[in-house]
Symmetry: C2
Subunit: 138 residues, 2 copies
DNA sequence: GGCAAAGATTGGACTTTGTCTAATTCATGG
DNA sequence: CCATGAATTAGACAAAGTCCAATCTTTGCC
């Protein structure tokens, strides 16, 4: 939940370090993702990217989110069957999901200890461990 | 992973105990879910329910899965943004997900200990905790 | 059993999220 | 400035799931 403020140069640099050509649209999308530290769905990213000037298409938003995810800039959070959330924080951490409101918040990795992690079968690796704590009113 | 074999009477009873009228289609779907202890997506349930005789529609499969879920007979597993898996095992337990093959297997609750569970804010309750261990070839 | 009311099922239209494609636009470096 | 490769785009498409109005079953009651 660091509220780091990235300059345009920072973002250009970030994309370049991940082997991504820093186009206008990609920078706008990166700005949307990294300026706030929220968990956004694609439709929100599209809306926010076009808030000032409409210049980014739906196809580009999806292309870019998938690209950023493949290059390890962002991470998907699968918590709602209706849409994928994108998380600008790729450090290991977990999630608290309010099933009533759809609000998704972070749980720091240190705050939650898991013991007894299964050893992956030979020839397989553990890609990640997601913990989702679902909460609800009442 | 108990391979309990339910008779038709058992299933009628199970549905009645959950306040569900045991119709032909619901019994067939319950049979599909409880005779094998797998994690099935809706399209698989539809295919399996109609294997012997085609008598159950897509709408009924979705209606019934949602009903069974609401009444606590089955549980959803959200692990793949493309489809929901239905789990006939509603006891607390966790999941191992093979992202290459889509195979989903159980991790017994006792085998995985979680410490530091966040306390839900006042007026909220923890509905459940899902742990998904994602594994992949290589 | 027979009947009516309540409840369940159904085909198909619809919605939503996401992907794909072929055409266009853009960036770049020589 | 131009050629070339890369990125963007509109809109068609796909898949999962929901909704609806018409029809069919089930069930409680006589
Ligand atoms: Mn912006
Ligand atoms: Mn069957
Ligand atoms: Zn997060
Ligand atoms: Zn399971």
């Amino acid at each position: 939940m660091k509220a780091t403020s990235y300059t345009r140069e920072d973002l250009v640099d970030l994309l370049r370090r991940h082997g991504i050509a820093p186009t206008h649209q990609r920078l706008e999308i990166a700005h949307v993702l990294f300026s706030r530290c929220e968990h956004l769905a694609a439709d929100r990213v599209l809306a926010l990217a076009n808030e000032r000037f409409a210049e980014t298409s739906k196809a580009t938003v999806y292309n870019t989110l998938n690209l950023f995810r493949d290059r390890g800039l962002i991470r998907e959070v699968i918590v709602d069957p209706k849409r994928v959330f994108y998380d600008p924080n790729t450090e290991p951490h977990h999630h608290l999901y309010n099933v009533d409101t759809g609000e998704l918040t972070d749980i720091a990795a240190e705050d939650l200890r898991i013991s007894g992690m299964p050893v992956p079968p030979p020839g397989m690796v553990t890609e990640g461990v997601d913990v989702i704590v679902r909460i609800r009113a009442l």
